[in-house]
């Protein structure tokens, strides 16, 4: 792989392209400012994407900032090892379809990753500009999205689909989230007959029920799924492996091996007094009602809790997605309540910045300790305790310490609890022979194989709540290892 990337870098056109512009001139170009939909305009609908597309010219200019380093450290920052300079230089020379094709070599969901990956902590953090020049990194994420969108909007697909030869071996994937899709794409490319089983009625997992359309439009996810279907991947919705049919049943149906990517679907609560009052819901419930079930639309039968004051507990991306959804559902005050300070928030800086622009209030160093309900059992107030930062904890972040006597009541008509998720126990419940940790995550070896032969697992069911890209990385890794094992047999 590395050799191939070096080889490509030495191709005549790449050498020529590098010479076209001096490093000094590349450096002088300012990083692109991603155009955004106006904040007052965009909060009118759940379905207006915040980040606007960039133009062909803008993409080429941004691509020309990339130095095409001999040692592309950016790639080390990417959990799936995308050939970053390879695709960026293709954008610079104007061959966008080829850029998209390079993305597809390593990622089945480039249009998704270009939007939701925390690039600032991954590839862009390792960019030469950021590491050595102390300048803003090349906007790798924006360029990835550009190339993927370009391909999606063009009729002709890049050449991934051509002439797939099936080896006739049936593989089952459990869960159609990013990890399952990534695995399915790679296995289909290896020639397997892949079927993805999904419990919900829609394909995409967290990409559909979790991430809101203003950040990741469903149409973008659907287009990526279409690509997988063209690769020969089959999808079965409304099917819960272990319940609708067992692994044994599927084996009898001819499935040779399995990849469990059922995600961390179980919402965590804080177990504080009053938490089961009406109007207090998990971010999973809140976002699923809106994103998957369309509760914001008049024609949808699914209701969602709305109110004047919406309090969201947590500081991660899901908390940001929830609070920004609240704003779009008409909340007068949409508030984040987070026990540490803004610096420690695990959410992407971009999401925090977007939330602020949309009028979200941040109540940091604040921790809910109790909920108060009205006579009808509906939440009316959150009792908040103020916090201060103490010594760093095992995560390296300063530990929040409560300030006794600082409690006060905050008015709340809806509370969304976004304090993390646990692995879904549906699989492990029905398969006691599948070894799992005390946390409920499935135990795997280095190759991502579980305690049962020919059953691999990856993504959040193994990690217990990570990111889309890490889940995808697992999918790729499991596919490679399973393939090697199956052909070795």
């Amino acid at each position: 792989m590395i050799d191939k990337i070096k080889e490509q870098r030495n191709e005549a056109w790449r050498v020529e392209l590098r010479k076209k512009l001096k490093a000094k001139d590349r450096k002088a170009i300012e990083r692109i400012v991603i155009p955004e939909e106006d904040s007052l305009e965009r909060i009118k609908s759940q379905r207006i994407e915040v980040n606007r597309p960039i133009t062909f010219d803008q993409a080429q200019t941004e691509a020309s900032r990339c130095m095409d380093c001999a040692n592309p450290t950016c790639m080390e920052g990417c959990p799936v090892g995308i050939n970053i300079p390879g695709f960026i230089k293709n954008i610079e020379q104007g061959d966008i379809m080829n850029a998209a094709s390079i993305l597809k070599e390593t990622s089945v969901l480039p249009a998704v990753c270009g939007r939701v990956c925390p690039q600032e902590k991954q590839c862009e953090a390792r960019c030469f500009y950021a590491e050595k020049l102390n300048l803003p990194a090349v906007a790798i994420g924006a360029l990835e999205r550009f190339a993927a969108d370009y391909e999606q909007s063009n009729q002709t697909k890049s050449d991934q689909v051509n002439e797939r030869v099936s080896n006739g071996v049936k593989i089952a994937v459990i869960g159609s989230g990013p990890s399952g899709l990534s695995f399915a794409g790679d296995m289909a490319k290896y020639g397997y007959e892949v079927t993805v089983f999904e419990a919900l009625h829609e394909i995409g997992g967290v990409l559909k029920y979790g991430i809101p359309e203003f950040r990741l439009p469903n149409a973008v996810v659907d287009a990526e799924i279409e690509n997988l279907k063209e690769l020969g991947v089959q999808f079965v919705t409304n099917f819960i492996v272990g319940q609708t049919a067992s692994i044994q049943d599927l084996k009898e149906d001819g499935f040779a091996a399995f990849y469990i990517a059922s995600g961390a679907g179980l919402p965590r609560f804080m177990n504080i007094p009053g938490e089961n009052a009406n109007g207090i819901l998990s971010s999973n419930e809140y976002l699923t009602r809106v994103n998957l079930m369309g509760a914001d639309l008049a024609e949808s039968d699914t209701p969602v809790m709305t109110g004047k004051n919406v309090v969201v507990i947590g500081g991660g991306n899901t908390a940001m997605d929830s609070v920004r959804t609240a704003k779009r559902l008409g909340a007068e005050r949409a508030m984040i309540v987070y026990r540490r300070s803004q610096d420690e928030m695990p959410a992407r800086k971009e999401e925090v910045h977007h939330a602020e622009a949309e009028g979200v209030e941040f109540l940091t160093l604040s921790n809910p300790v109790e909920y108060v309900a009205d006579d009808n059992g509906r939440v009316s107030h959150v009792k908040i305790q103020k916090m201060e930062l103490g010594e760093p904890d095992e995560s390296g972040r300063r530990r929040p310490v409560s300030i006794p006597g600082s409690e006060y009541l905050l008015e709340a008509s809806v509370v969304v609890v976004a304090v993390g998720v646990s692995p879904n126990p549906l699989m492990t419940n029905v398969m006691p022979e599948l070894n799992s940790t005390d946390w409920g995550t499935i135990m795997v070896d280095e190759s991502l194989q579980s305690s049962i032969n020919d059953i691999y697992a990856g993504g959040d069911i193994v990690r217990g709540g990570a990111s889309v890209i890490l889940a995808m990385g697992d999918g790729r890794k499991a596919a490679k290892n399973m393939h090697e094992k199956l052909i070795g047999n």
Partner: protein, 274 residues
């Protein structure tokens, strides 16, 4: 075509029995399981219990009461129509053991999910006494089926229009006074299950309640179905739907069931306008 409705029978003014093609669920379902159903592309996902299954025909039977927009939409479908989405079986199956005599207390559409449970209890050799409770005669449903799987059936109506006059608890007291009961199962409106639990608590009879909570996905994802059992928050969908009735906080359930009532009323209104 998936999830095709094979037959639909009206059991009362607002209650329908719907048999639908679902070969995999018919094969894998166990007593106590439920399914999630969605009707139409704008439909809501709702949990429904399984009243019966026929492995050979590959069908399952559900009993549905028109209550809100979603159940009404399902009841409007006819033989030959397809249910947009149907997934399951979900929930932990009922624990069936040979215990002796089982008192099954059901009310309203709770009779339907009770059928596979009493069938299973009879199969392992338990004596089954079923109390079938309803407001009035017209609402007593599935009596014939209940009789098939019960050693004895006691019918209670609030107004005395059929069977004995009185609430389910009056029937329970009579049976308990007469013979020893080793286990009690209750399925019905939350308020009924609450009083069933209060009744058996006095006699220290182990009692299982099958809860009907609000759910979105039914697979553990949303947490809308959370209930307090023995002071701990549990999810009806994956930890239940059956719990030790003496440990369940029914008052909380009664409040939580009203959580979306305003929204549902709005839905009904919209439906009328259409």
């Amino acid at each position: 075509m998936k999830n095709k409705i094979i037959s639909k029978v009206q059991l009362s003014d607002s209650i329908f029995k719907i048999e639908v093609e679902a070969p995999l669920i018919a094969r894998s379902r166990k007593p106590g399981n439920f399914v999630m159903v969605r009707v139409g592309e704008n439909g809501e996902r709702i949990p429904l219990t399984i009243a019966d299954a026929n492995r050979d025909k590959g069908t399952i039977t559900m009993v549905v009461q028109k209550m809100g927009v979603s159940s009404a939409k399902l009841c409007e479908l006819n033989s030959g129509d397809c249910i947009t989405d149907l997934v399951g079986p979900l929930g932990k199956p009922t624990k069936i053991e040979k215990v002796g005599t089982v008192l099954a207390c059901c009310g309203g559409v709770g009779v339907a999910p009770m059928l596979p449970i009493i069938e299973a209890h009879q199969k392992v050799g338990n004596r089954v006494i079923t109390i079938l409770a309803a407001r009035t005669k017209e609402l007593v449903i599935l009596e014939e089926e209940v009789r098939k799987f019960s050693d004895e059936v006691v019918i209670m109506t609030d107004d005395g229009s059929y069977g004995n006059k009185g609430l389910v608890t009056a029937g329970m007291e009579q049976v308990i006074a007469r013979e020893s009961i080793h286990e009690c199962v209750t399925i019905g409106p939350a308020i009924m299950m609450k009083f069933c639990a209060e009744t058996t608590r006095k006699y220290d009879i182990h009692t299982v309640a099958s809860l009907n909570s609000i759910m979105v996905d039914g697979t553990g994802m949303c947490g809308a179905c959370r209930v307090s059992v023995a002071g701990k928050t549990r999810f009806t969908c994956i930890d239940g739907p059956e719990f030790d009735a003496h440990q369940v906080d029914f008052d909380e359930i009664l409040t939580r069931l009203k959580g979306y009532q305003d929204k549902e009323k709005l839905g009904n209104k919209l439906q009328e306008v259409k």
